[in-house]
């Protein structure tokens, strides 16, 4: 078997393990699916009359607008959760077991990210179905849905890389867990929940240039209108930039861990 094929097989095995871990422990699912769903419900129900504000974009309903925010929220939380799981592996010595095996070092990170990607894809499908059940309309149709799932999955991988980097550097689950509030800071400083033009300063300016806003808009456009070329490349470039940085940081953190030990 070629080296690449062997590595892919290992990444697949580690990815399957990380997926099994997540779905076998419902209390890990709660923050990723249940909390964002509750937040989506209450924000749609509570702030839904925002669609009547003069400068609000044309939408069929506030839910159509909010779906993208819920999906990206899940992607961020999936990334954080993957980081926590990797840190737990490090704390209990499982990572050492992998490092002592004749497998590529990066397979360890990529395996974890494969799990995060699966979680991201799952949550994207979940929110599409949820949205459709509660009356949302996806303007771009099936192509739009596929694009949304693709963006969210890639975003989960990119965010997962940051979680992995922090886990590898700190080796501590509680450090990664402590970053949970940061997820919400990032979301509030983006257009995840509201159009940035209608937010208060200084959050509005930050949101206008926040790469997470570009990603959200890439996921939102197929729902409320059509995905323009410009929005698509902005979303993709943002994901690529975050992913590039996060994978770079993971790589550095992994090297540091290997050099320094536990």
């Amino acid at each position: 078997m070629s080296r690449l094929a062997a590595n892919l097989r290992i990444i697949g095995a580690l990815g399957r393990r990380s997926i099994r871990q997540t779905f076998r422990r419902p209390q890990l699912m709660a923050p990723i699916i249940i909390f964002p769903t509750l937040l989506l419900a209450v924000q749609t129900g509570g702030a839904g009359s925002a669609v009547n504000l003069p400068a609000f974009p044309e939408v069929n309903g506030f839910l159509d607008f909010m779906l993208a925010g819920a999906m990206i929220q899940s992607a961020l939380l999936a990334g954080n959760s993957g980081g926590i799981a990797l840190a737990v592996d490090i704390e209990m010595g499982f990572t050492d077991r992998l490092l002592a095996a004749p497998i590529s070092r990066f397979a360890i990170v990529l395996g974890r990210l494969a799990g995060t990607a699966a979680l991201g894809a799952f949550s994207a499908v979940y929110y599409v179905v949820l949205g459709l059940i509660f009356g949302a309309r996806i303007e771009e149709g099936v192509i739009g849905v596929l694009l949304m799932i693709a963006f969210v999955t890639l975003a989960a991988i990119a965010f997962g890389g940051i979680g992995a980097a922090i886990a590898l550097r700190s080796g501590s689950a509680s450090v990664v867990q402590g970053l949970f509030p940061l997820v919400f800071v990032i979301l509030f400083l983006s257009s995840a929940f509201f159009p940035y033009e209608l937010m208060l300063e200084p959050a509005a300016t930050v949101a206008e240039f926040n790469p997470v806003s570009f990603i959200v808009e890439g996921v939102r456009d197929p729902v409320i209108s059509t995905l323009t070329g410009e929005d698509a490349w902005k979303a993709f470039a943002s994901i690529a930039a975050i992913g590039g940085i996060s994978l770079g940081l993971s790589s550095l953190a992994l090297r540091h861990r290997l050099r320094v030990g536990s």
Partner: protein, 259 residues
């Protein structure tokens, strides 16, 4: 009976002291309970601040409208954390020490819950400081008093909820349920907007949810800025009712610890 109550006060006080010790000796443990509602408060104000342009809001400042929600979220978080701590104490055997002593069960519960009520003031103080810094309206002394009372009472209710779950599941893995319960109770109210501007389904839910009355009670000093008995008594009744029901469940849970 009154002798039994009199003898219980030292137990309650001792347990409150223990809880205060925990807070002072590991102050970092209080940070999540302060940080989360503060981030939410500033975040929601920044994001939804222009909702007040809609007709139906009695105020121009969303920060004034939403501060009660954040105050109660902070209390809810603190109270739920009391439940998590109790679950930890049960898992580690510390709670057996209390159960094997002659201290009356209500006194033990009272001590746990009283400490939560006082600890709720920590995030509340930070939130109020931040609120006034970003322009929330001053609620007046009476409005502030009611807000503080609402926070402490909600902290008590949240602690009773957390303790009930801790005694039922005897494991820290019930923590998300403790947090989620309070999260839902506080947010599924007139939290984001006045009742008329809510979607119909949320109007119905908020009508049924007793915590809506508490939100309105705490909000009145900030928005519209006047405190009336009519806006106050429903909140008091809601808090009393929740406290009575949850106390019953918690004491029952304590009795069943020996099962």
């Amino acid at each position: 009976m009154s002798a039994a109550i009199a003898l219980s006060w030292p137990t309650v006080a001792a347990l409150v002291r223990r809880s205060a010790n925990e807070l002072m000796r590991v102050p970092g443990a209080a940070i999540p309970g302060v940080l989360a509602p503060t981030i939410f408060y500033v975040g929601l104000t920044s994001v939804f601040g222009n909702l007040t342009d809609l007709r139906g809001f009695d105020t121009d400042t969303y920060s004034s409208f939403i501060i009660p929600v954040s105050l109660l979220q902070g209390a809810g978080f603190t109270g739920a954390a009391t439940g998590v701590n109790l679950a930890r104490d049960i898992e580690q055997g510390w709670f057996d020490r209390l159960l094997a002593s002659p201290a009356p069960r209500p006194a033990i519960l009272g001590g746990l819950v009283a400490s939560a009520s006082i600890r709720s003031l920590v995030p509340a103080a930070v939130l109020l400081a931040v609120a006034f810094a970003i322009g929330a309206d001053w609620p007046g002394p009476l409005g502030l008093l009611i807000a503080v009372f609402g926070v402490m009472a909600t902290g008590t209710v949240a602690a009773l909820w957390g303790c009930t779950l801790a005694l039922r599941f005897r494991s820290q893995s019930a923590a998300p349920l403790m947090q989620a319960g309070m999260f839902v109770l506080v947010l599924f109210t007139t939290s984001y907007a006045p009742r008329e501007l809510l979607q119909p389904w949320l109007q119905t839910v908020s009508d049924i949810n007793p915590v809506t009355q508490v939100v309105e009670m705490v909000r009145q000093g900030f928005v519209p800025g006047t405190v009336t008995w009519a806006e106050t008594w429903p909140g008091l009744v809601a808090l009393a009712g929740l406290a009575v029901v949850l106390t019953w469940f918690a004491l029952r849970g304590m009795r069943h610890m020996a099962d």
